[in-house]
Symmetry: C3
Subunit: 358 residues, 3 copies
């Protein structure tokens, strides 16, 4: 067997995270379920990456990132089948003054901005992506169909076939980039996204602001799906406050997700608080009245720099016909005629877990 | 590329096994088949694991283990799809005096005990798990259905969504632990096991005794499936004798597998002998009369500490309607009306192979 | 995380390639498509391998090789499902004077010979395997069915369940070996090939000649499929000329692929030229008249020993009913009644890319 050694120049790095926890979700009127979950604080993953110095301020690099579905022994995406390197598979050419050219499967810029302002990094029961549900969100359902959440059915997280450009560092706090993805005659449901996007941000001392847009052209209906996010954060030293918005538009349907987040140092650990509101609008009164609010808190207790214990609680309150639920509870339906119709009900949850970075 | 180096503290370890061989199986009356097989002496696998010292006698660790289906280039389980880390995916927190807390996908305690007393580690043509067949075993078929052997259809090997506690070492030879697995609204056929179990053993010098139980609550019928194993071994220096039993119960059906194993040093190598008898019982005379016996021998010849050659022979004798067969031969059926009904017939096999630990 | 270090004895090596590019394919009369492609210059892959010195001129070794479908984050073959180590999974025992015994999944000898003489290593738009299409090639379609190209439907690339012998080095330039694969009651469509083959070559200074045959016995029709390749190359220092042929036979159907290749040093880079002609013959005049010709050129520009930029152009000209197309363009059909019938038409393409070896 091979054991690792101290860093050396021009090396491959093998790293990752193993994060497993216990979750309980109560969906009002439908009961309570307990489960073992992976990645509630940091996505369980295996990363292989490396860099080569080409001289003259230029370098080549690659990055491979695979989800470890550690509770059941899975790896990568459950759909499409065989997508082992589901999180990222890229090769880059970087010039210190010109920036980086990157090819492959990567994150969409809107998710990067949105996740960066979420105290919970869009993970676990307090995830700011709780409202990114093709089953419960009208605008996502209309654009991408109501395939299972676990399917790579919509490009609001990551996209394949991307060509990207990133600004170089050293532009006085300015950062950002451009992205275009080849449609390849496929559909978004198959993970083939024809999209265009950009990201621009600026950080100065304790202040940071960032915005992004990604437009998908091959949605189910043929109409564009526009995904926008923007946010700002202030770091007060012992506390950090963030305010962000993510807006989805497709035809007449819209969903505006607004986030208010706070992290506060508490001894060796950290307290995290989050409020997220989803405002849906469209042509029908039912859609206009179907809003939802997520309220959550968490505490992270470090055992070392690489290992932490955490606990998180959350509550989703639906209004009107909104039927958002925290994942891991009894199955819910958005259909008013279903026995498990969840419109207007509450989903509450807690989880505790152990996270180990390697 | 990256090459390995001498061990260092707090490291990731990449290791595994590549074991490939040739097997011939003759199923009486149905013909003979030859195949290339993986893992007849030690499961071909890729392991990534690591440990972090947290100080004060505490440590965090992770363990990832993936079957290498080396004869066809596959990895992980064939079902469910995408289960790459099929053998183990866990994260642990260990205290020297309190024990270990472990979360994830792991072995069931009954298989750990049973495999530990089998000279062939429940692998290859002489495997003590030859009678763990959902197609031929009535009790397993009733509890889990007769899905293909290759499917993760029954929790008698490994389970997902486990929460485990292990006793610390240093208890005067006492070892053991507890396990509970979340059902997660799934069925055993989908690999979602709702189970409870424990293991307890004691070793003193050359003597070892161990027992375990694992109860599955979400079987096909809704009735509990109880899996128990116990065994003892004596190490005489050049030889080791082991006696073990694995008992399965579901409703009125029972199967008792009894093992007698012997390993004897022979020059630089080792001779292995195994006798396993399966005694089925239930409400019908047919079930009561359907027993089977496995007799097998093997020789392991080391070329180094990490590389060995091996040869193994085995014979399964069925009584009554029992239709157990050594894997790798012509297809057999337990149905009396089928053209390839195997009730009461003999399956004989040999295999030779090369095993390399890395 | 673990970072690599300088080589040491008896080590595991982690290495691979990340190659991504942009391709445009125009299929005459059907339009033009652009896509992001992986492995147009060197297959994107992850390799884990190792060797152990057993003393007395003997060694044991293993080799695991997995395609990285880097444009979409996939890994391994798309079919059969779960074939992660699709390129190679072998264990070997080597004696310096007796040769190598190898078991597992590996390349067929005919592809090794054919690929070795192709300036483009049978990759990208100028691949000498452009005519290895079960949809467009009559002999392949008859032998293996017209399953999608992406399926492991025919054993003209790699085979599972192989037992191989390789001649030792140091035979005065002679090299080669034998291969036999277990059929395992499966069909070629499922990747279970019952085959026999051999390879023999001789290199002397700047001259090299090599030939191979692989016969598949469990084709769709039950008739043998015979795959033969042979070639020769001359290295003039700054240029290398190669001439090769690959011949397929199944029943009355035949396809002869003839390759003329040239590589010329151009500054720090290399110019590559290739001409490949496919001559189909059979019992019908339609088959006899359905030939095709590929003409292509490429330039490889190294940024370092491990990182290169490349650009390649190609044109496939079909005669009669031949409907070969460069992969990545609008869908084509070999059926004369289909709206997208491509018989006798031209497929043209270019691609540019970045390749990084790690």
């Amino acid at each position: 067997c091979a054991q690792s050694a101290p860093p050396s120049a021009s090396a491959i790095t093998l790293s990752g995270v193993l994060d497993l926890g216990l979750r309980q979700v109560r969906n009002a009127g439908l009961g309570t379920d307990r489960s073992v979950v992976h990645g509630a604080s940091s996505t369980s993953r295996l990363v292989i990456r490396g860099q080569e110095d080409l001289g003259s301020g230029r370098s080549a690099s690659f990055f491979l990132d695979s989800t470890i579905v550690a509770d059941t022994g899975g790896a990568g995406a459950s759909a499409p089948s065989g997508q082992f390197w589901d999180r990222r598979a890229t090769v880059s050419l970087t010039d210190r003054s010109l920036g980086e050219l990157r090819l492959g499967r990567d994150w969409v810029p809107t998710q990067l901005v949105w996740s960066g302002f979420d105290p919970f990094s869009t993970l676990g029961v307090v995830s700011a992506n709780t409202f990114r549900s093709t089953a419960a969100s009208r605008v996502l359902g209309q654009a991408f169909g109501t395939a299972p959440e676990t399917q790579a059915a919509n490009p609001t997280l990551r996209v394949s076939n991307a060509v990207e450009y990133f600004l170089p560092s050293g532009l006085g706090g300015l950062h950002g980039g451009l992205i275009a993805t080849a449609g390849e005659r496929g559909t978004t449901a198959a993970g083939q996204t024809s999209g265009r996007g950009l990201r621009l941000g600026w950080s100065a001392g304790r202040f940071m602001v960032s915005a992004a847009q990604f437009t998908t052209r091959n949605t189910r209906s043929g109409q564009d799906f526009v995904d926008r996010s923007l946010g700002a954060s202030w770091n007060f030293g012992d506390a950090k406050l963030s305010l962000a918005q993510r807006r989805w538009r497709h035809g007449d349907d819209r969903q505006v997700n607004t986030l208010l987040g706070l992290t506060v140092a508490a001894g060796a650990g950290q307290i995290r608080l989050s409020w997220v509101h989803a405002d849906q609008s469209g042509t029908s009164a039912a859609t206009n009245g179907s809003d939802a609010t997520l309220l959550g808190a968490g505490y992270v207790h470090p055992l070392s720099k690489r290992t932490t214990l955490y606990g998180q609680v959350a509550r989703v309150s639906n209004q009107g016909g909104a039927s958002f639920a925290i994942p891991g509870g009894p199955a819910v339906s958005a259909s008013p005629t279903a026995a498990n119709h969840f419109g207007g009900r509450r989903s509450t949850a807690w989880e505790i877990g152990l996270r180990h970075d390697f």
